[in-house]
Symmetry: C2
Subunit: 185 residues, 2 copies
Amino acid sequence: MGQLSSTAYVILGMLTGGPKSGYEIKSLVDNSTRFFWAASYGQIYPELKRLDAGGLAVASDSPTGGRRRTVYEITADGEEELKAWLRQPPQTFEMRDEGLLKLFFAEVLEPAEALEVVRSMRRHREDVNRRLRQLQAMKGDGDPDPISYPLAVLEAGIEFSGWFVAWCKRTEERILTAAPGAKDR
Amino acid sequence: MGQLSSTAYVILGMLTGGPKSGYEIKSLVDNSTRFFWAASYGQIYPELKRLDAGGLAVASDSPTGGRRRTVYEITADGEEELKAWLRQPPQTFEMRDEGLLKLFFAEVLEPAEALEVVRSMRRHREDVNRRLRQLQAMKGDGDPDPISYPLAVLEAGIEFSGWFVAWCKRTEERILTAAPGAKDR
DNA sequence: ACAGGCATGTAAATAGTTACATGATTCG
DNA sequence: CGAATCATGTAACTATTTACATGCCTGT
């Protein structure tokens, strides 16, 4: 039917690895694509129903014990749809970083406060970097010969957050050099 | 009034440099914060009215010749509101990169097609990098002694897109190494 | 005369988050 | 037994983009 949302493609992509429940898709997303493409339950569950209705995935009951559970499997149509999308040049590149935005306006603050903005940013990125490294350690690491795309993307996340931390450190130095009085609270 | 939107703070921040029209704010945003915080007319104009209604900015007519024009000036309350917000630790850090998402699922594609995804990403980031460097060349460059926050943020954008381009190149190499047949197109 | 930039605005659609409601199972 | 986790879903809200409508001014 009409154009699918990006979330629809995230789901289709996740389903290429085998049938999954909405809950499983959500936690997969949270442990992989989240840092460059997030999705909430409020998007995932309705979208799964739409994919089923459109014939791109099929739902089937698959309870775990007495706990109801619906898993979805991608169809041949679904896979074609996914591939067609993957072949289109990517369009969306967005970033929203409140820290950079605050720093941009930091002239109205005291240097010590501007410094604190950068420190917050650094703490956050250090955190992300640590979590991504943990994920990397968990997945088979070690530069596999036939390149693993998910691993390559994970590496991008690690490098990116690493670069960001380094940039924060250098920026903290510059603020301190320009206003030596700004050293801590 | 209730909580202000982030867009409201972008506007307040832009107004600290002097009174501006909605149109001017939009083009400022497009030439500065855009790569980490965008805003459209559909947000800016209604938000300006809200800021005026809430006493954080004041509107005044300031036509250019026969062309009507409304400029907004930040009030003391507006400046306090802005500073209070700047002092809160930043919360929002988001990225949506359709290229990384596509690469993540590239296993279902031919290596040549995966390569094309990365090349698209690289072209896009090269473009961004070029435009940011142009902006940098236009603004007074040369590491001013009292650190310029907007310039520091611009540098972040340049470094970030530079890192991204380099990562794409390395990833292209890896794909070619794993599947030497993927050359060209 | 016409293109492009200046200027303001709104309506509709789309996207996405948050909070809530519900209930079963597993592990300590 | 209680907490965490598995599991599904919806309603309300907030955010944001896109497309459109309007019209003046400046430079070629």
